[in-house]
Amino acid sequence: MADKAALPFYMRRAPEITGIAALVVGVFVFELMVRFGLVNRYIIPPPSDVLLAFERVIVEENILARCGETAFEMLVAGVSSVVVGVPIGAFLYRSALWRRALEDWVGALAAAPIVLAFPLFLVLFGRSPKTIIVMAFFHGLAPIILKTIEGLAGTRKVLVNVGRSLNMTSSQMFWKILFPSALPVIFTGIRLSWTFCLITVVGVEFLINLGGLGQLINDLAERYDLPGTYASICFVILVSVLFFIVLERIESWLQPAR
């Protein structure tokens, strides 16, 4: 390890640098191909135009308000799915009967293509942020329930026995042993859930043309603003990637040392 640290930066990071270089070269090649007319610029605009459009998208399209709106919807849905999902998971863990009866259904909910039901939710809740929030909530719920059950059930037997040997009450057992031991897995559930929430929020915004970042893309595409469309897609992808990285960082920061 230490001898690696002794290597110069560009040697240690050669693969990452290669990856970035490949990306830059790829963009550059596209630029040339568009410039020389090898690629129709009405299909792929020159990357330089897209880069310039970034400024326009950020300055003219109310980007802050849009981010705020998407973040708001995402947070309401995400927090509610945690608040609802963890107790449901704990309940299902405690009652073997209910768990046996319903765990498969929760699994089915996790795998169900809920986003597809957006016309239905439109009818139920109208073309309002409510629709988006409710859909994201349902999408985010199942992973939390499943991971809560998994975490609680994965508590090491010997820890439970420690609690039993100390004559702990069942509520002490839950709060002092089961829950803390399940916490890392529950965090994983939260990360997955919030990832789903963001995907759903942005996707539905795009599909029903309402709200924040998703709508931005739809708007620009409908205006046939090619560089703007590309720029806004890149922007949304960057924002979501940033969001995932932050979630991951938080998760690993909260994990106790193994």
């Binding site: 990856g19 009967l97 046996r100 795998a111 293509p113 016309p119 139920l124 199942a142 795009f206 897609i233």
Partner: protein
């Protein structure tokens, strides 16, 4: 790097509680039926009460009727066929590209470090927002749906294959070498069987996202396919029909998921 953003509903062995196995299985089944009955009852009550505007909560009977009507409607079958073909094509392309990419990334640490982060972090982004680009590239016909579906399937398969390749127990490879297995024997008797499950799992996840993405793209802009049909029914405000069609789509998606899940679980 574990695959993020992927469904967590991994089939896990149901942990039988210590007290009586068969009896509690029956109890669970009864509870399940009871839950379903309660849901149906509440639904029907709400529907009768007229609490909601118009047909938003249609009666169970009308949903069942719509269900029957759909199943005998040639329009439904025609659109189902379109969607099925689009999904199969996108899965075939996406999975093939994903397996090849996954093997390359899994076998080569340098390439993995250079390119895998991009695939990893792009995989949980909402793919549907790329649809405008796909339309520009491939037009408004089925090709743009296939392309978007293939793109979605690609990420899951590539990540899962690469992880599977890396997770192969190194000791098994050493065992192969110690018995002087040829390259071909190594590939067929060690790498492939060891990677079968991760690859199938990747295909299962990829298929899930491919189905959703293809259908969503059809709802956005299309003149055929089940997604298109959903929007048609929605525009007509045929609520029983909408419920019935969504239920069918959920069942099909669930069945495909279960089928590949079964393949992955078979032996070993």
């Amino acid at each position: 790097m574990a695959a993020t953003g992927q469904i967590t509903a991994r089939p896990r062995p149901s942990v039988a509680p210590a007290t009586g196995g068969a009896a509690s299985a029956r109890a669970a089944m009864m509870l399940r039926v009871a839950c379903a009955l309660v849901v149906f009852g509440v639904w029907e009550a709400v529907s009768r009460s007229g609490l909601f505007y118009g047909e938003v909560v249609p009666s169970l009977l009308s949903i069942a009727k719509a269900f029957g009507r759909l199943l005998v409607d040639p329009v439904f079958w025609k659109n189902l066929q379109v969607t099925a073909l689009e999904t199969i094509a996108s899965l075939a392309i996406g999975a093939a590209a994903g397996v090849v990419t996954g093997i390359v990334l899994g076998a080569n640490t340098f390439l993995m470090r250079a390119f895998e982060p991009y695939i990893y972090y792009l995989s949980p982004t909402p793919r549907i927002i790329l649809f405008p680009v796909m339309i520009m590239w491939f037009g408004v016909g089925p090709t743009s749906k296939v392309a978007l579906g293939a793109l979605s399937a690609f990420f899951a398969v590539a990540l899962s294959t690469a992880a599977g390749m890396r997770q192969i127990d190194k000791i098994l490879i050493r065992v192969g070498h110690s018995f002087r297995a040829t390259t071909w024997q190594m590939a067929t008797k060690i790498y492939l069987p060891a990677m079968r499950i991760p690859i199938l799992n990747g295909i299962r996840l990829g298929m899930g996202t491919a189905i959703i993405t293809v259908l969503l793209a059809e709802t956005k802009l299309s003149n055929q396919g089940l997604g298109y049909l959903i929007m048609q029914i929605y525009t007509r405000f045929d609520m029983p029909g909408l419920y019935a069609l969504l239920i069918i789509v959920f069942i099909i998606a669930g069945a495909c998921n279960a089928l590949i899940g079964r393949l992955a679980k078979e032996q070993a």
